[in-house]
Amino acid sequence: MDTLNNRDLDNQSFIELKDISVTFKSKQGIEVNAVSNFSLKIKKGEILGIIGSSGAGKSTIARNINLLEKPSQGDVYFKGEKITNYKGKNLRQIRQKMGMIYQHFNLINRATVRDNIAFNLLASNYEKDKIDLRVDQLLDLVGLKNKKNSYPSQLSGGQKQRVAIARSLSNNPEVLICDEATSALDPETAQEIVKLIKDINSKLKLTVVFITHQMEVAKDLFDRIAVMDNGKLIEVNDSYSIFANQEKEETKLLIDKVTSLKIPKTVLKNNNKAFYQITYVGEKAYLPIISNTIKTFDVDISIIHGKIEYINDKPFGILIITISGDREKEAINYLKEYTSNFTLIQGATNE
């Protein structure tokens, strides 16, 4: 049974969402398509991000995975097993293999941290005498050992999310579903949670499905990104490719939020030169393109704006420049050839 081929297949489609559609009935009785014909295979051990603007259907997809919401059409497979119609005990056992964390943490507010975590252990009939030991282990993992007897109201947002993570990991799940898990946190705390999830992913070999509209998080955390728009999956690729080169306009709009450079209007207006935007990705990012251009064509290049982002530890650079000199045209052609993208963002105003 467990041949290499089979295992490989399992790893490629650890979770599979097949042709999923979800239809809601609004209060006025109108049918709304939250998700339509969504198909995606999630690999074992990867951190998959599902991004999209709000209302794109991301959360619905997340909730389809553990069947908190049942798709109106299509099927959900977990390790090759069709779980769409699971009920009762079978469904509960599947859910124990999938941890979930939320934007607003959703802890039991009137139970201590210990009891919140113990709840998940009780759900899986964990041996009662060993619960406290396991709770200590989990709190250690998320760095909250001294908060065992605190109530959620006594914790900060980041600490609450750590408790939620500890709780979700209590039954050694194989998947962690994160529904906007950093969206209610300030940027620093969000970074901490991202780091924690990354650690957990590598330490526990846990598959992570992370829903977010925060591109900053996407940049730091995801191995692969699925882009949703209007209930549909429009693009899926490894993170770097999504950031470097978007196929769809909707994706571009999302990515631009992180990567675009803004130049004050006054700068653009008062300059009599043309502005070009250069992006360079992958190996090209390391080449001394600008200095080569200057030397070869004897032109002046001024850098107006620029930044280099690291996505999955790979550089991704953007520069906005102006070029002047006799061999300007040749320089431009050279740049076009050796950069990933070279576009005119504004022509010279005084020409």
Partner: protein, 220 residues
């Protein structure tokens, strides 16, 4: 003045005991049944838990019927039932039957309300853990709703004291009945004042205690 003291010596102890008897028995019944019915009303109306329109409509209608009959009428209407349960139709024990019925219906609605205050996300996240319904009821619903349940029981307790005054109709006796028999029919203003003051003090104390417990266990 002497007359008033006389009546107090002779009847107040007995009346207090009767009130205590009627209210305590009814409160125990209303708490147990009220929690069960309140929980039933809640879980059968919640699509995440055990949504069941038929059971919900039946239990809801029963509760509404009990709640819409004025208590003084209910006292009389349930006399045959009282006869079956207690064996007699007069006295404080007999009064506990209509009192319990009325307070159960009242309490059930309040308890249902206490459960519906729980954030739906909290319930959803507990479902996502794969917990059984029973575990969710025990460790989430009751834990989250407990302060509100205590407040609901406090309100029911106080209403019961009020209703028990009407139990005189079926010979239930009690403090309220003392006020009517002596304070009203026999113009013993002293008795009226004393009994009313007693009731006010008791109610104040119960409310104080209820608030105190509810706050002590509320960690939100």
């Amino acid at each position: 003045m002497n007359e008033t003291l006389n009546i107090i010596q002779q009847y107040l102890g007995k009346a207090t005991y009767e009130t205590f008897q009627m209210v305590s028995i009814s409160l125990v019944v209303a708490t147990i049944l009220g929690i069960i019915i309140g929980l039933l009303l809640y879980i059968t109306s919640n699509p995440l838990l055990l949504e069941n329109k038929v059971i919900n409509i039946i239990s809801s209608t029963l509760v509404n019927i009990l709640r819409s009959i004025p208590f003084i009428i209910l006292l009389v209407v349930v006399i045959p039932l009282t006869k079956i349960i207690v064996g007699t139709t007069i006295g404080p024990l007999a009064a506990t039957v209509p009192l319990s019925l009325s307070a159960t219906a009242f309490n059930a609605r309040l308890i249902e309300g206490a459960f519906s205050e729980i954030k739906i996300e909290t319930i959803e996240s507990s479902i996502a853990t794969g917990a059984s319904l029973l575990l969710i009821i025990r460790k989430v619903l009751f834990v989250e709703a407990l302060p509100s349940i205590i407040r609901a029981i406090t309100v029911t307790f106080i209403s019961l004291i009020g209703y028990s005054a009407m139990a005189g109709i079926v010979g239930g006796g009690g403090i309220g009945d003392l006020a009517i028999q002596f304070g009203y029919y026999r113009y013993e203003t002293g008795i009226m004042i004393i009994t009313v003051v007693m009731l006010v003090v008791i109610v104040q104390f119960i409310q104080y205690l209820g608030d105190k417990i509810s706050r002590a266990i509320d960690h939100q």
